[in-house]
């Protein structure tokens, strides 16, 4: 085959044009401009990288590695929001054949002052696994374990594949119930029933001593309840009341109340004295007992809370 046959085909359609053809594209200036533009931008970028940390540390905080530390927003990894500014995670779940215990921590969103951020009251907890859904036995917290809740559940069938669910309160109903007693102590009130909407808080046992007492209650109907009791000794020369303590750190000062109790299907509290105990010089003429009972009568939002670690015995 003659190469000259291909010459026609390989020729650019523009190659026949004369150099001063007014339709010819002047390629050199644009290419040169593109190269100059790229070089200028590259110089600018390299300069920016080389000088950025020094420039930024003047106005922000340098991180440990010298990178740019930016004030955090949002929650730490592994936490799920349960309100606008509080998130929760289950740090550890202990499971054995008798019980399941969840150790929960909560954190305030970065940038939000923890002092102006309220702890979130979860009405009920469960862990769903393999078709089972153990019921909440008790959730508790202490004044000195801030941000932490311990949750006791009945046993779960497949702990490794459990999904923890927190149920927030939906509808809450409250009543105040007053009981007047003669001044005789010690005394025990049993099976005192307090109607709250369609539910009943049953005070199984209220034990009132001279400067000390205890209370146990359970809920019939409804999801969870909170029960507070104030025992006032009437007619005394020196004031004396008994206050409800759901969790009593032994080192806490007398009269210093702990955090409010979490929602529960049952409860047990110690009543501690604030004031002078009864004596021959401090005689009561009567006792007024005031119960404040609140019930979650309808469940609210369900939120899945991540479990960081499961320990199975």
């Amino acid at each position: 085959m003659n190469d000259s046959n291909f010459e026609e085909l390989l020729k650019s359609p523009y190659s026949n044009r004369e150099p001063d053809d007014p339709d010819a594209i002047p390629w050199k200036p644009p290419v040169m401009a593109a190269i100059i533009g790229a070089l200028l931008m590259a110089t600018f970028i390299i300069y920016s990288i080389a000088t950025a940390p020094d420039d930024l540390t003047a106005t922000t905080t340098s991180s440990a590695s010298g990178g740019v530390a930016v004030e955090a927003t949002g929650f730490p990894r592994g936490y799920v929001a349960v309100s606008d500014d509080v998130a929760m995670r289950i740090d550890v779940m202990h499971a054995d054949s008798n019980s399941t215990t969840l150790f929960v921590s909560s954190v305030t969103e970065a940038g939000v002052d923890a002092d102006s951020s309220s702890a979130v009251d979860v009405a009920s907890w469960t862990v769903r696994s393999n078709g089972s859904e153990p019921s909440l036995q008790y959730q508790h917290s202490s004044r000195t374990s801030l941000g932490r809740i311990t949750i006791d559940l009945s046993p779960v069938s497949d702990p490794q594949n459990a999904v923890a669910i927190a149920t927030l309160p939906g509808t809450i109903e409250s009543v105040e119930d007053v009981l007047t007693l003669s001044p005789h102590t010690p005394r025990t009130v049993t099976n005192h029933r307090i109607a709250v909407g369609d539910s009943v808080v049953v005070v199984d046992e209220l034990d009132i001593g001279n400067g000390y007492g205890s209370m146990r209650w359970h809920l019939e109907g409804g999801l969870a309840a909170k029960v507070d009791v104030l025992v006032v000794f009437d007619g005394v020369q020196f004031p004396l009341v008994l206050l409800t303590h759901y969790n009593n750190d032994p080192e806490l000062s007398v009269g210093f109340r702990g955090i409010p109790p979490p929602w529960n299907p049952q409860g047990e509290a110690t009543l501690l004295r604030d004031g002078e105990p009864l004596s021959d010089a401090n005689v009561a003429t009567g006792i007024t007992v005031t119960f404040d009972a609140s019930v979650v009568s309808r469940a609210g939002t369900e939120i899945e809370i991540p479990i960081r670690e499961v320990i199975q015995d």
Partner: protein
């Protein structure tokens, strides 16, 4: 140069600038990602919502449960390396006044943020070839010390990690004692022993002793459950013996007690600590 040539030159310049900018942005991202990966432990932040080097209290912090461990200083003295740190709670505490503690007549007020809610008991320092253990002696201590061989400098440290820290959690549980069964386990590592039962006027005094493998585990009080029990008292400061008073008829054969307060719970895992900013 005609008008078309000028237009094409401008377009060419812009193409060059934009192409270089595109490559440059990727380079910057790469540089920052490399910095981030070595600055803070990945435990700290959500990779889906936050760049990795962001923090909640201060740069270099480590988050354990709801408490941040924040290094304050690193001091190399002789063969000892000491890291001083703060514990800062991120727990929501609106409406809670400062704590008021009283111990045998002394009253002390403590801010909520100063409560020792975690105990980073064991730390591990790793160099290229060796590993060293250290740790604070008590939850109230905020300094960890490592004894290192001669010649090791802070620049030789490859990593520092907190191992299986303890966190404070609420405790509220029952246990039973009787004259036939005089020992009961309250939580792992803590037992209650029935020591003595004695009559005192119209009352009965029941004395029990708490026995713990580690004294820090005694972070709770004990009370009798049910009508008839009165307040309980620790026998003396530092002695884990509790006297409980029973008022009423015969003492129950099986006595039920309630332990409530706090317990330490182990959070298994390695929690890297960054001290690079002090080097």
């Amino acid at each position: 140069m005609n008008g078309r040539t000028i237009s094409l030159t401008i377009i060419g310049f812009l193409i060059g600038v934009l192409a270089a900018a595109g490559i440059g942005v990727r380079v910057i991202d790469e540089v920052r990602a490399t910095d981030d990966a070595t600055s803070l432990p990945p435990e700290n932040v959500s990779s889906t919502t936050l760049p990795v080097n962001q923090y909640f209290v201060a740069a270099g912090e480590t988050l354990i449960a709801s408490t941040a461990v924040v290094p304050k200083s690193v001091v190399m003295s002789g063969t000892g390396l000491a890291i001083e740190y703060d514990l800062v709670s991120l727990a929501p505490v609106e409406g809670l006044p400062p704590m008021v503690f009283s111990s045998f007549g002394n009253t002390q007020e403590i801010e909520n943020s100063d409560l020792p809610v975690i105990f980073p008991k064991k730390w591990v320092l790793t160099t290229e070839s060796q590993t060293f253990e250290g740790g604070p002696a008590h939850p109230d201590v905020r300094t960890v010390r490592f004894e290192l061989p001669e010649g090791i400098a802070t620049s030789d440290v490859v990593s520092i990690e907190i191992v299986d820290p303890l966190v404070v959690a609420s405790l509220d549980t029952h246990f039973e004692l009787s004259e036939e069964s005089r020992v009961a386990t309250i939580v792992d590592g803590v037992q209650a022993r029935l020591l003595n039962i004695s009559a005192q006027g119209d009352s009965t005094i029941v004395q029990i002793e708490l026995v713990a493998e580690d004294p820090i585990d005694l972070a709770f009080g004990v009370e009798g459950v049910g009508a008839g029990w009165r307040s309980a008292f620790f026998e003396a400061e530092g002695r884990p013996r509790i006297n409980l008073t029973w008022v009423g008829d015969d003492l129950p054969e099986i006595m039920v007690f309630r332990a409530h307060g706090n317990q330490w719970v182990e959070v298994v895992g390695l929690f890297p600590v960054s001290i690079a900013s002090f080097e």
